[in-house]
Amino acid sequence: MRATVWLRMVLVALTLGFTGGALAQANLEINTPAIASLKASMQSRHAQLAGFYASGAVGLTRDGNIALRDANAVPLAQRQQVNSLVAAENQDRAALYREIARANGKPEWENDIRATFAQRWIEKAQPGWYYQNSSGSWVRK
């Protein structure tokens, strides 16, 4: 008698466990207010950054950030502006990676998420933009 009850309980636990595991694998949580506001801030900044990507002044780094790679491509009057754009963008990106990890209850995933983004930014970059390859040198896409 008791064995049957036990078995039943074990079966229920297994089913729940598998379902939970499968669900957790399917998608990452990215719909939080913090992530939404980071996206919005990066989206509006992109309008200002796009020209610098195209001119090669700013490139995508292999660690999921952006960097000023050729200051000479920026008119003197805009250098201060491009520096602060790059700094602000990298701050938002760091916060984004951290927030996604936290929203999924896995703060320790932050670096994996950063690495995933690093690849995907480069993959989705437009032709002509610069990115850092795995050895750290700049490549024109």
Partner: protein, 63 residues
């Protein structure tokens, strides 16, 4: 005697399987992360999927 062993084995199997599931969860879900990254990047860079619709998601209206 046998029953006790059976119960013990069943419980052990259950515990191990659950443990396995938890272990799977700890691994980084690379495919899901890639999907999430793509979605966010498309929004930040305003990349439209499926070509030339320029204004919002109006499906290719004439004109």
């Amino acid at each position: 005697m046998y029953r006790k062993t059976a119960i013990f084995l069943a419980a052990l199997t259950g515990a191990l399987t659950l443990g396995g599931c938890v272990t799977i969860n700890i691994y980084f879900p690379a495919a899901a992360a890639e999907k999430a990254a793509d979605k966010i990047i498309d929004e930040v860079w305003q990349i439209k999927k499926g070509g030339d619709a320029k204004n919002g998601d109006k499906p290719a209206a004439a004109q």
